[in-house]
Symmetry: C2
Subunit: 464 residues, 2 copies
Amino acid sequence: MDNGSIAGLPGTLAALGRALEGKSLSPVEVVRGLLDRIEERGGELNAFVTVTAEGALESAKRAEGEILAGRYRGPLHGAPVGVKDMILTRGVRTTMGSAFFEDHVPREDAAVVERLREAGSVVAGKTSTHEFAYGTTGDRSRFGPTRNPHDPARITGGSSSGSGAAVAAGLLYGSLGTDTGGSIRIPAALCGVAGMKPTFGRVSKRGVFPLAWTLDHVGPLTRTVEDNALLLNALAGHDPEDPYSAARQAEDFTRDLDRGIRGGVVGIPAGFYYERLESEVGARVAEAAEVFRSLGAGVREVEVPLLQEALDAQRLVLAAEAYAVHEERFLGEPEKFDEEVRERIRAGAEPRAYEYANARRTRLRSLRAFARVFEEVDALLAPTVPIAATEVAQREVIIGGEAVPVRAELNRLTGPTNLNGLPSLSVPCGLTAAGLPVGIQLIGRPFDEATLYRYGHAFERASS
Amino acid sequence: MDNGSIAGLPGTLAALGRALEGKSLSPVEVVRGLLDRIEERGGELNAFVTVTAEGALESAKRAEGEILAGRYRGPLHGAPVGVKDMILTRGVRTTMGSAFFEDHVPREDAAVVERLREAGSVVAGKTSTHEFAYGTTGDRSRFGPTRNPHDPARITGGSSSGSGAAVAAGLLYGSLGTDTGGSIRIPAALCGVAGMKPTFGRVSKRGVFPLAWTLDHVGPLTRTVEDNALLLNALAGHDPEDPYSAARQAEDFTRDLDRGIRGGVVGIPAGFYYERLESEVGARVAEAAEVFRSLGAGVREVEVPLLQEALDAQRLVLAAEAYAVHEERFLGEPEKFDEEVRERIRAGAEPRAYEYANARRTRLRSLRAFARVFEEVDALLAPTVPIAATEVAQREVIIGGEAVPVRAELNRLTGPTNLNGLPSLSVPCGLTAAGLPVGIQLIGRPFDEATLYRYGHAFERASS
C-alpha cells in the first residue's frame, strides 16, 4: 500500500504523469505492468468484471505515439484508469453487476468516459459494482463479492467496490465510481484511498445507469488527493445533454493544493456524525482533528441541524427512484435480481408521494442549514464510515454493545450530502489495530471542491 | 365592461398612472370612487373577503402627499389593487377562504405585498379564493361562492375568484392571484380580464400560503395586457428568502409592447389543446388565430408532445404536496374543511413516492419538448379553458355530447405549464352568444414574459 511506487512504476498519477511527459517511461510499459498486477491480484480481489487488456494496450500505444510526437495532452495522458461497471463504455460490456445486463455491450461512451479518453487516459477495465449499485457492502453482484486488499475476507464497501479495491491494491491509478448514498466514499474509506463525491451537477451523468437520479453523483477514486483533483479536472464540466448538469465553468482543482490551511477553520459537526462510532474509528478521527490544528487551522465544534431528517429523506428518495428505475424489470423478471437487491426494490414501491414531496423540502432545508454553518467554517470534518470493513456476507455489526445492520451503518454518515448535493471528499486517516483503513470525510460548500482538496492534501501530507 | 372608464375614472392602470402623475386626479378620489363601487357591487359578486377601506384611504393620502411633493414613484403610485386572500398582509386578516384561518391576522407582508407597497400602490382589499386555493370553480369557500360579473348565477372560475371578479367589474385596477393548476388564468378567462402566470421562480412566494409548492406561482390579473406588464414590473425579482426564486435581473416588461409581431411566428399546438372544446370557445380561438395572422405573424400548427403526461404529473404532484401541506389539519380537524376540499386532500395521501419521482422526470421531459417547439415559434396559442363559465355549484358539463366534471375540465389546458413552469398569459378573445367571456392563452419560453405581453398587447389592440 505504499504510494511511493507500484511494482516499480510511479506510485501516483501525478508522478506517473511527470514520468510519461518526460518520456522516462512509456504508457505501454505502464499498461503492461498494471495488467501483470491485475493478472496477479485481480482474481483474488474480484475487482474487475472485465479487463480490457487489448483496448488498453492499443490506447497506450496511441498515447505513446502522441507523446513521442510532442502532442502531450496533460497529466492523464497514457495513465491507466478503471471505470465502474455502471458507466457505459462503447463496445465494452457494461453489466451493472446484474444478470439483466451480463451481455450488454453499449454503443456509446458515457460523457465521463468520453472526457477520460479526450484527456488521453487508458481505460484498463470495468470495475466491480454491487448489483445495480444498490448496496453499500459490495458483496452482492452477479459476479460475486469484491474483496478488500487489506484483508480479502472482508468487504471493500460499496457500491463502487471494484474501484476501491483496484486503486488500493495498485492495479489502477484511479477509477470512476458513482455515489448515491456514499458509494464512492465508503469503499474509499474502507480500502484506504481518496474518493470524491463532487457537488451534484458538477460531473455529467449522461450514459451512467441510474440508481436514484436526484441523488446520483459520479466521481473519482485515487491513491492521493492530488491525483483525485487531476481526475476531477478531466471529469467536471457542463453537459447540456444531462438535465442535472450545472452550468459551471471548468476550473483547475489542483490550483490551491499547496496553499496550506493556516488560518482556515475546520468545523467538527458534533452529534449525528460522532455518535455510535467504533472506538478505533473515533480515535483516528480525533487524531485527524489534531493534525488539522497542527497545520494552523482553527478546529471548532459546530451544530449542523436536520441531519437525521436528511438521512431519512435521502433513503426515502433513493427507495422511490430505484423502484421507478427498476419497476419493469421487477414486475417482469424478479428472479433475475439478487435476493437482497430485489427485496429493497420491492420495498421502494411502498412510500407515499407526499413523503417524497416532504423529502424534497427537507433537501432545501438541509442546504440552508449547511449554508449557515459554512458562514463560520471552511470545511466540516467527520468520519466517512462509523466502522471498519466487516466480513464478506456479514449482515450485523456490534457497536458499543448494540447490534446494528451493516448495510445501513455503512452509509449513515454519507447519505445526507447525497440529499443536499454538497461535495464530500473521503481521505484515509490511518488504520485500526487489525490493519483496516479508516477515513475522514471533508464536506464543503456547493461547488467548492477546491477547498476540500486543499484541506485533504494538507492533511495527507502531514499525516503520511 | 368598458375599459375606457370606470365610473368616471380612467379605465386602465396605465391611464390612471398618467392622470395621477399629471395631478389631474388624486389617489384619494380614486380610492373613494372604487370603494363606492365595491360597496355597490362587491356584495353581490362576493369578490372580497375583506375590504381595507381605512388602510386604503390612508395609503392614498400618503401617495397624494408624495406625488404633490414631487416624489412620484411610477405607474403604480396611488393605484388601488387587490390581494388574493392566500397572500399574507401585515395586520390585515388573511383567511385562505378557510374556517381554519378565519381570524388569522399575519404579522408580516408577503414579499409581493412589500413590493406593491414600495411601488406606492394602495391595497384596497383581500379578494376571495376557493378554500385554500384548492379548486378551479371559485364557489367553495368559508365565505361562499364568488360570482361572475357577466352573469352572477355563474362561477368566476378559481381559485383566484375574487381577483377575477373584482378586476372584471371595475372594482380594482389589478389584483394578485396565485396559480397552481390555472388559478390565475382560469378566472381571467372566465371573467374576461388579462391574467399572467409568470415563469416559475420569477415572482417570490415568500409569505404566500402554499397549495403545492413546486407548482405554485404568483401573478397579476388586470384589465389590459399593458396593465399586467406594469404590475409584473413591480412584482418580479429575485428573493433570496424564497428557495424557489430564480436569480434573474429586474426588467421592464412593457419595453416591447408596441414593437408589433410582424414576422413573428405563433404556434398552434394541435391535438391536446384543441380537443373537446365547447364549440363557441373553439370558434373564438380560431378567430384569434386569424387576428394574429392579420397582424403579420406566421401562424403554424406544431406538435407539442407529452401534454397529457404533463397534466397527469401536475395533478399527482398537486395532490401529494397539498396533502403534505394540510396533513396536520386534515388529521386533527377534518370537519373544518369544506367537504369537497377535504375529499381532495384525503385522496392526496394515496399516490406513491415513485409516481411522484416519475412526475418530476416528466417535468424535465416536458420542458425539453417545449424547448424544441420554441426553436420554431415565438409563442403558442391555445384556449385557456375549454368551456365558458358554468353555473355556481354545477359539477358536470356536457361537451360534444359527453358529460365531464367541471372541475377537471377547467384546468385541463392550464395544468401542463404549472408542471414545467413556462409562462402563460390569458387574454380575453370575445364572448359567447350568451355574453360569457372566452380567453386565449399564450405560452412562451422560460422567462420570456416580455414576448407574451407583446403578442397579447398586439392582439388586444387589434381585437378591441
